[in-house]
Each structure stands twice: as structure tokens, then as C-alpha cells.
Subunit: 215 residues, 2 copies
């Protein structure tokens, strides 16, 4: 069982979601295709279990970072940890948002985030909403940024910079009257860093939360 999940995660990490096949997994385990179905009843369950397997590490890391004086700082640290995990595991984003809180470690993570809000001066309902907002933001952004670049980039034929600059060129070629904003930020887009972008947006959200807790 443990081996099944470990190898499944390895396959996902190495070559993305499409690489996780029952046949490929069986070959890696040196067994037959049917054997996997003894441990897992479907591919969906396999993915859920693999995702939760990874979340165990995320949870452990997140727990390390909490315990400061400021609950919002802790919230920030947890969110960052989760973001990092999804960012370099693109497959995790897609299978994290579905059924949040059904898997054991996902549930614990939800709890951990929620507990920080218990230390804030908020309504019950406000706490509930705040946690949903933070998780939704993290998963949404991370899943977006972690999407697999096209085949050419993955194979190394085209560098990430070239790929990005192709986008930039396309944006620059657009009508400036119809797309003033796109032209306005294209320079920033060209040199942007995913983690910075995530962090800046998170700060907005947490600033709003801090405002709410202070009133």
C-alpha cells in the first residue's frame, strides 16, 4: 500500500498527471495491473490517496511554522507552504480542491488554518468565510501557475524565457487602444515572478482580514 502511493507520487512528479497509468504503475511495482485494484478501487481514489500522501508532508512543514504571536503571520506562513507544495507539483492543485476536507491530512490542514482565525476577533461566520477565502485563493493561484507548460518547453527545446517572451510579443502586438491595461503591465509581466505575485495577492487578502479583525 505504502509502496503503491510512493511510486504513484514518483510517477506524477516525474512526468505529470498523464504519466500515472495503471499499467505504468504496475510495471514500476513489478506486478500486474489488477493487483493495484486490491488496494484502490478506482483511479480517482488513487489520485486522492496520492494527494493526501503528499499533504502529510505539507502539514508537517506548516505546523512547524505556526506559533508566532501574530495569527495572521501564521496564516501567511501556512499559505506560503501550501503554495510552494502545489507550485512544484502541478498535479496536486487540480486534485486538491476537489473534496477538500474529505482526506485526513487535508482535513487537518483545514483545521490548522482555521485555528489561526480562532485567535482573531471575528464572528464565527467571519472565521468560516476567512478560511474558505484563504484556501480558495491559494489553490486557485497555485493551480493556475502550476499548469504544465506545453510539450516543447518540458522537453527543453524551448526555454521558459523564450516561451514567456513569445507571450509578451503577442501582447505587445495587440491594439493599444483596445487593450490599454495589457500594454500597461506587459513590462511587469515579462519579468514577473510567480511567488512574488502570489505573495502580493495574499497580502491584500490578509490586510482585509486584519482590518475586519480590528473593527
Amino acid at each position: 500500500m505504502e509502496a503503491v502511493l510512493t511510486e504513484a507520487v514518483a510517477l506524477l512528479d516525474e512526468a505529470g498527471e498523464s504519466a500515472l497509468t495503471f499499467r505504468a504503475l504496475a510495471a514500476r511495482l513489478g506486478g500486474g495491473v489488477g493487483s493495484i485494484y486490491w488496494y484502490v478501487s478506482s483511479k480517482d481514489e488513487l489520485l486522492d490517496r496520492a494527494a493526501d500522501h503528499v499533504l502529510a508532508d505539507v502539514l508537517r512543514a506548516a505546523e512547524m511554522l505556526t506559533g508566532s504571536d501574530d495569527p495572521i503571520d501564521d496564516l501567511r506562513a501556512i499559505a506560503m507552504t501550501l503554495f510552494d507544495a502545489i507550485a512544484d507539483r502541478p498535479w496536486l492543485g487540480a486534485y486538491f480542491m476537489r473534496n477538500t476536507g474529505v482526506q485526513p491530512h487535508g482535513m487537518k490542514l483545514y483545521e490548522l488554518i482555521g485555528e489561526q482565525t480562532l485567535r482573531l476577533d471575528l464572528t464565527r461566520r467571519e472565521r468560516f468565510h476567512a478560511v474558505s477565502a484563504v484556501i480558495g485563493y491559494v489553490v486557485g493561484i497555485a493551480a493556475d501557475m502550476g499548469q504544465q507548460p506545453p510539450q516543447e518547453v518540458r522537453d527543453g527545446e524551448v526555454s521558459r524565457e523564450d516561451y514567456l517572451s513569445r507571450f509578451v510579443a503577442q501582447w505587445r502586438a495587440m491594439d493599444a487602444d483596445q487593450y490599454p491595461f495589457v500594454h500597461h503591465i506587459v513590462d511587469d509581466f515579462e519579468v514577473h515572478d510567480d511567488a512574488d505575485q502570489f505573495s502580493a495577492g495574499l497580502d491584500l487578502l490578509l490586510a482585509g482580514l486584519r482590518l475586519q479583525a480590528g473593527a
Copy 2:
């Protein structure tokens, strides 16, 4: 071409993402499987086109709602419109976040959101980050909430309330010492409304943005 997209969207709306098959689509169009490949080169492109086809309506609706005195109010209206669209089209969420801004109407929507930030007193970089944050939040939350409930619920065998209360019961059964937050908000969860929840989180984000623009 137009008919292909219309029927593709109809299939997606009626029975979800898994229902969109080249064979099912061909049967609906009264033609052969191969014919579709004349209009579209892959299933990915079909989904992209279908998503953009829907985004045209979203964009039109969003444009109607802008033009108030307060750019942040406009931002809020656009986000709400986008949320509603994804909420009752679960398939849209998954295929919206990938390649935002490649499809024409997705690009326009990005521009429309961005233009609101042009009316705020912000750095270029701050504007760039703000737009990413808003879109990430909307798509993340909407995709999460719009996820297809299990088969039983879709078939009407189990009502949405029963489905939700099964969750609630599971949460209530958990150890109260280990999961204080979960027990804290379970009552709110039981009666929660997705749109309210989204709206509350969006307000946090926009409050943070307003704060940034005021400084």
C-alpha cells in the same frame, strides 16, 4: 463551426465534462466523428473554444455592470458575474484557469478587470498583482464550489441537503479536542450559501486593495 460549439456547450452543460465525447458530439450533429476534426484539431482546442464561446456572454454581462464611480465596486461586479458563470458551469472553472488570456474573450475579460485598476492610485506592479489576485480568487473558489457532486446527487436519488448533512454528521463525529475549529464552524457550514461565502471572501480581498490604493 458555430453549431459545433453550441452543441459542445450543450453537452457540457447537460452532463458535465465527461459527457463531451467526439462520438457523442458527432451523433448530436448528425455527422461522423472525423468531421469535427476539420473544425478543431484536438479535444483540448474544442474545450478551449467552447470555454471562450461561453466567455463571450460573460464578458457582455460584465461590461454592462461597469461604469460606476467606484472602480472597486465595478471590480466587484465583474468578479460576481464571472463567479456566477463558473458556478453553474462546473466544467468552465477547470478550463478557464489554464491559458487565461490566450483565448480572445478571456483576454478581453482580463483587460476589463485590469482597466478598473487603472482608475486606482497604484503602482504598475501593484495593479498587475491585484488583477492576478482577483482572477485567481474567483476561479479558485468557483472551481471548488462548482465541482460536480457525486453521481447519486446528480441523479436526484439523494438531495443536496442530505448530501451536505452527511458531511456535517461526519464532521460532528470527529474528536472535538483535535478539531476545535471544525466543531466551531460546523453549524455555519450546515446552512452556508456558496454565493455568500464567495462574496465575503471577495470583500476581504477588495478591502485590502482599497487600503493599498488609499495609502
